[in-house]
């Protein structure tokens, strides 16, 4: 069992994740149509490029846009959540030790205490996001089971990892569930709304090009996001 989950299944999940994301991006780009979208993607490329970069970069900076500034608390939660989700698994010492054993290299390793805090932050932020979904009428009305499900899929590897590391009784069980839930997440990324991992960049670039070459960018110097 353990062999299978950490062997072929792990491989499968990673390949599925990478190929899935690439396929998604390729299909997206192939589906862009200058006539239907009414955006000249291949003309005035420097303006389009600038528009795309602005549209992505400002949104990646905490409080970098009017929208982020208008929602200070949510923005804080949003950035902590995403930062911790990306950084923790990549720089976790346990992961890097496995990497070292199997591949002979490793990345920078976070002290375990820091990883712990980051993990707890992911869990707390997810709770707040969930509560926000229920508490605010303008978010509640939009919420569907899918949104809750992807939140669970995202948090599960962190929760189970935390249990496993802290040797909560039956650590072996938790380790197994942890690996499985991580694999579920990888597979879910191209299949669910988690595809925003790549689509965030596609969509932001697209609207950036739209504002950059067509809607004013050539006269204004760029949208003030």
């Amino acid at each position: 069992m353990y062999q299978f989950i950490t062997g072929p299944l792990l491989w499968f999940s990673f390949v599925f994740f990478f190929v899935g994301c690439v396929v998604r991006v390729v299909l997206y780009i192939r589906g862009l149509d200058w006539r239907l979208d009414r955006v000249t993607y291949t003309k005035n490329i420097s303006f389009g490029f600038k528009g795309a970069v602005r549209s992505i970069v400002f949104w990646l900076i905490p409080y970098g846009t009017q929208s982020w500034r208008a929602n200070p608390v949510y923005t804080l939660i949003f950035f902590i959540f995403h930062f911790a989700i990306i950084v923790t698994p990549i720089f976790l010492s346990a992961h890097n030790i496995i990497l070292m054993e199997r591949w002979g290299f490793r990345l920078f390793m976070l002290p375990d205490a820091v990883s712990d805090i980051l993990t707890l932050l992911v869990i707390c932020c997810a709770m707040i996001i969930l509560l926000r979904r229920i508490a605010l009428p303008q978010v509640r009305i939009l919420t569907k089971p899918h949104d809750i499900l992807i939140l669970i899929i995202t948090v599960a590897p962190f929760m189970t990892g935390f249990f496993a590391y802290h040797q909560i009784p039956d650590s072996e069980f938790w380790t197994l569930v942890h690996i499985l839930s991580g694999e579920v997440m990888l597979v879910a990324i191209p299949l669910t709304k988690l595809s925003h991992v790549v689509y965030f960049f596609c969509s932001r670039a697209q609207i950036g090009i739209d504002f950059g070459v067509k809607r004013g960018g050539m006269k204004s110097g760029g949208m003030k996001w």
Binding site: L32, V139, L142, Y199, M223
Partner: protein, 462 residues
């Protein structure tokens, strides 16, 4: 397929059809027939299949339902934070469903889609500045309008407007001759004061071709006169075309993509015929949006640009002020507090926010910004054709509260509105809410303060 005599899925193409529809006061029969209108689900499904590609499909898919767009929409704010006014909700319940069900929807659904696409959204695109995912909600609502139009689910006035463009190549029943007559009349009207005043019609090879909004010759002919006088004072080498002078596009508001294409092609062929160096568009927001920003795409121009460089009237004004072609008498600058309505169509969606401020520095002593302003300004409340639709009058009037409060907050009693729709909406804000404001295009204000050069003045008889 049940199709009404007035309400049906065929666009208006003849004068006669147009008159029959106009005769149906307030669209009473039209809307009654709409209840019986069948949805051609196969055709609708095919249209979606053909025109809804990865951009819109991805937008619909990746919306993370975070609700950040809620507070960006003036309809949401004006309706006491009604969750049903959240942009994402409005689009998911209409276009989202339509795409998911591949067009298999019924009459009631299409009417709901229509009421949302026109009655709950002005396509101002403000929400797309507030969505982390870069979802272009206004673009999607415009697209939804197109789908509704193709099935005949379109507000009565929009059907008429689109028909006007198809029949007259103008949003109103005004022909090329009517337009030229108005130009001649305006020259006569003003000749006493400006003896050499001219409105050159169809002059080839000039610097500037001027195109306008059909409302000007039809309802506000003095605007045509004012434009001529200002060009005259500035020494502009200009012309108007007798055909292809109309810039606006109710067809765009109606979602009549074909009609919109017919209209802009008329303008572009005037440009090709007269070969001017550039085009100036009158003080209208959606006209600029239709003919300069969207138009090239409807006409299939791969450059995405009009055949010659085009500037909005505010850009022309600023250029004339900067180069000294128009000189302002400092004593006549506006002394009272004054504010400026940023038109979504050429500010947020056209990049001209800086221009208005620079003009204000020339003409106003106490200029006050609305909050928020520039790209982030709220729609006046009457955009997207909403001003002209009786069915949604109530919704519009509620929406206008946001602009009303924004204006009140500035303390200014004068609102400069270089956009026809904004001008109307702000007039109506005063009519509905009586807050004691005045509103004006730039042209009459400029005329009241510009220095007329010696050689253009009437020589006093000895």
């Amino acid at each position: 397929m049940a199709q009404g005599t007035l309400c049906n899925n065929r666009p208006i193409t003849t004068e006669e059809e147009l008159h029959t529809l106009l005769a149906d006061t307030h669209g009473k029969k039209y809307y009654a027939e709409m209840h019986e209108l069948d949805v051609d689900t196969d055709k609708l499904g095919q249209l979606i299949e053909k025109t809804c590609k990865s951009r819109i499909r991805t937008w619909l898919q990746i919306c993370s339902r975070c609700g950040l767009c809620a507070e960006s929409c003036f309809f949401y704010l004006a309706n006491n934070h009604d969750p049903k006014q959240v942009p994402s909700f409005k689009i998911q319940k209409t276009l989202g469903e339509l795409v998911r069900r591949k067009g298999k929807v019924d009459n009631a659904f299409m009417q709901k889609a229509m009421d949302t696409a026109w009655g709950k959204c002005t396509c101002c695109n403000r929400c797309s500045l507030y969505c982390p995912m870069g979802i272009g909600m206004g673009v999607m609502f415009s697209y939804l309008r197109g789908l509704c139009f193709s099935q005949g689910f379109v507000p009565w006035e929009m059907k008429i407007g689109s028909g006007m463009h198809r029949v007259y190549r103008a949003q109103m029943d005004i022909t090329g001759e009517d337009f030229v007559d108005t130009c001649e009349w305006m020259v006569e009207e003003n000749q006493e004061e400006y003896p050499d005043l001219e409105i050159p019609v169809d002059k080839e090879g000039v610097d500037t071709i001027y195109t306008l909004n059909a409302r000007e010759p039809k309802h506000y002919p003095e605007d045509v006169g004012d434009a001529a006088i200002l060009f005259h004072i500035a020494g502009e080498n200009w012309t108007v075309p007798s055909k292809g002078w109309e810039e606006t596009s109710i067809a765009m508001f109606a979602g009549d993509w074909e009609g919109a294409a017919l209209q802009v092609k008329e303008v572009y062929s005037a440009i090709e015929r007269l070969n001017p160096k550039r085009m100036v568009v009158t003080e209208c927001g959606h006209a600029y949006r239709a003919t300069v920003i969207e138009g090239p795409y409807w006409a299939g121009l791969e450059s995405g640009k009009t055949p010659v460089e085009t500037i909005h009237y505010v850009e022309w004004v600023l250029e004339a002020l900067k180069t000294g072609k128009l000189k302002i008498d400092p004593a006549k600058k506006i002394k009272e507090p004054v504010t400026y309505q940023d038109s979504c169509n050429y500010i947020r969606n056209g990049g001209l926010s800086a221009v208005g401020r620079e003009i204000m520095a020339y003409i106003a002593e106490d200029f006050r910004e609305m909050k928020p302003c520039k790209e982030h300004n709220f729609c006046c409340g009457g955009g997207g054709g909403l001003n002209g639709i009786g069915r949604y009058r109530q919704q519009r009037n509620i929406g206008m509260k946001i602009k009303r409060d924004q204006i009140l907050e500035t303390g200014a009693k004068l609102v400069i509105t270089p956009c026809h729709n904004c001008w109307d909406a702000i007039r109506d804000i005063e009519e509905v809410y009586k807050i004691g404001i005045r509103w004006s295009f730039l042209k009459p204000l400029l005329l009241s303060m510009v220095i007329v050069p010696e050689h253009l003045r009437v020589q006093e008889e000895e």
